[in-house]
Symmetry: C2
Subunit: 419 residues, 2 copies
């Protein structure tokens, strides 16, 4: 009998994502109506635009062959230039393509910058609730994740100040390495931060850095291009014109296609150098072919066309979801009306939505899935952890099943309240 393989401390800390079993439920039973999965709308996926861009990239043998060769670690220069132009068209100034890194989706940028900045035992501050997959990454890396309470606009400035003060007072401030903020239509709440809120948070951050030493502001803007109404606020990054403080990350997965697995990030020079070194160790750089294709898509305007389609579609879907909730759920149920992104956050007073709760089981028995708010809150919250919240996603499910799913959940709510 041989002994089991030894595994690393990191692996011992790493679990399956808490929602991977939700995903599995949905895959195992195609009849299930999943309001949980954050996939993109299949119908709108721009295979027509993709086909055109591929034709251009492979128009000549030379061009095709060059797409099939190795590329540089930080990404194809042509694509980094297009990203810089995109960011400038979105209000940033003087974006240096040399400080952009192309990654495998936004996820790899989040993962790798966390590797650059943190050691086990370090501290990261996050909005509470926040993107649970990033919490998985942090836990796997041995990081202490401290939640900062949010309201409808996102992180509450006073709550951030309280956290910073606690860290200073407990002598742990030096372990703080990252402040993580989803600046547009956050996952899971769909918060939209006002310009004033952005400014307040950055001001608190800057003052803290000046007084107590540097840490990184990680601005995750992955949903920015899914603004469904009006023009999105400027990036928080625009408050950092010298490119000293903010790591800005985004993706082409949400408003174009996740199947390309491409994201981008823009950051201070010292971080860029470290990030590219680690990315080089991980994979030498993202697919050169896909980067060529993506550069074409940006150049030709096809990216904007696709993003428009997604926005139009998600606007309809968001409205359909909100209408269904208004139609089928008791009127005291509180939802956030998102101005973009993929999610509606709901609060069901008097009902425990946690996994394993009678409500959760009853909804699952009705073959409907949601993400319990439970999974989105930190282990270390500032307020008692709410037990009556849920995230509903309108991007993947079709109109009819969406309405039906909400209807069935409404029935369960009434049953629960009646009993």
């Amino acid at each position: 009998m041989t002994s089991p393989m030894p595994i690393s401390a990191r692996s011992r800390r790493t679990t399956d994502s808490p929602i991977s079993w939700l995903m599995k439920l949905a895959i195992d039973d195609p009849k299930i109506i999943s309001l949980a999965a954050g996939f993109v709308d299949t119908q709108v996926l721009p295979e027509d635009l993709l086909r055109e861009a591929v034709a251009k990239v492979f128009a000549t043998p030379e061009s095709g062959k060059s797409a099939l060769q190795y590329g540089g670690t930080s990404g194809l220069k042509e694509l980094r230039r297009e990203v810089a132009k995109l960011l400038e068209s979105q209000g940033l100034s003087n974006v240096d393509p040399e400080l952009i890194c192309i990654s495998n989706g936004g996820q790899q940028a989040l993962y790798t910058v966390t590797e650059v900045m943190t050691d086990p035992g370090d501290i990261v501050l996050v909005e509470d609730p926040t993107y649970f997959v990033y919490m998985d990454v942090l836990r796997s890396a041995g990081i202490r994740v401290l939640g900062v309470t949010t309201d409808d606009e996102g992180m509450i400035p006073e709550a951030l100040e309280r956290r910073l003060e606690e860290l200073r007072e407990s002598g742990q401030r030096a372990r703080l390495k990252i402040l993580y903020i989803m600046s547009y239509f956050s996952n899971p709440k769909g918060c939209n931060m006002s310009q004033e809120r952005r400014g307040r948070l950055f001001e608190i951050y800057r003052r803290e850095v000046e007084r107590e030493g540097s840490f990184l502001l990680l601005e995750d803007a992955c949903y920015r291009d899914l603004a469904l109404q009006g023009t999105p606020e400027p990036y928080m990054k625009s408050l950092d014109p010298e490119n000293e403080f903010i790591f800005l990350s985004g993706t082409f997965s949400k408003a174009f296609a996740p199947g390309l697995r491409l994201g981008w990030s823009y950051m201070p020079p010292a971080i860029h150098r470290e990030l590219c070194r680690l990315k080089g160790n991980q994979d030498f750089g993202s697919s050169n072919m896909n980067q060529r294709i993506m550069a074409e898509l940006l150049k030709s305007g096809a990216y904007d066309v696709a993003a428009d389609r997604f926005r139009a579609r998600y606007l309809q879907k968001r409205d359909a979801l909100v209408r269904a909730i208004e139609e089928f759920w008791p009127s005291d149920i509180d939802i956030l009306h998102p101005k973009g992104g993929l999610y509606v956050w709901a609060r069901l007073p008097g009902i425990n939505t946690d996994p394993g709760s009678p409500f959760f089981e009853a909804v699952t028995a009705e073959k409907v899935l949601y993400v319990p708010g439970f999974y989105c809150f930190c282990d270390e919250t500032q307020e008692p952890k709410p037990t009556d919240t849920m995230r509903l996603c309108y991007s993947y499910v079709d109109f009819e099943p969406m309405r039906e799913g909400v209807r069935r959940m409404g029935r369960v709510i009434e049953r629960m309240r009646g009993s």
Copy 2:
């Protein structure tokens, strides 16, 4: 004045690859003849086959759209099945597609399995000399890299036994987590391991595991499909029919196209679970689109067609390089005649080939680049580190400049010996 950003212990340990400056030299001066770069032959890159496969994947909107959606972390089932079939056609039995993981090139598999297995301070045994990029990964992870001396066939069994004995005697055996072996046409030496050598090494490994506890045998077979003469020996993995010990990794970058960034690995169940969790944190899985394309290429036989083209081309190039060396270099210079892969390893008695040596500077002044053996040997060798070796790569450079590069180096050798 704000303080500099704090960076992690990992980042502090991570440097640019020692050969990245060699790469930069070649990029900055297109007149340079690089016998250093391990890129693939651009002319043979199968853009025609790729175009056909893309056409199939995007033949219908449904099929195209599904390629653009998210996929699973371990990889597209269709592709994992094709990889299992490929491995079975190459002599393995009962390959379970559920224990295959698709990664961003072979590199990501090496990186991630190292994360699964090791903590800082752990030990990895490698062939000496070995693949320098993997040494970078290990150093970045804080691993102690111990070299095991090689001969023309690869790792010497007695040298491995000596290392294991030393580890037991110094009480460090428990820190040993990985034995890394390139089982085909190794980088940098181009060694070809006989069946007997494979058996001996596996036997020593197995005995050690039985007696002293488990560690992983990491078989990197990335050059297997570039066997230029005869049928390659069976995988070492075939010595592990119950899939308990060996992590086998391979790639589509060498015999098809690096621009797709796809590799595969096949491993024991416990390792597979951990590997997929970490890969999920890194990027949710490799590009679904590229995996669809790759599955098409394997199914249609296009992969074999491309691999044949590469083999035919590299056979010519290898012969051209060997002939040029025979023509232009003194006859006492010792080279290994590789039966596959991309490299010729040379030993130049009496000449110091280290970076910064008069020879290196003179060759660079002649606008020719090679990889000094210096970069390929471990910090902790078993024998004194040789100073007279180099790696020459025949894959990327064209015939004429290859010959010219060898001729110029021959002149420098004669000058050095004359002086």
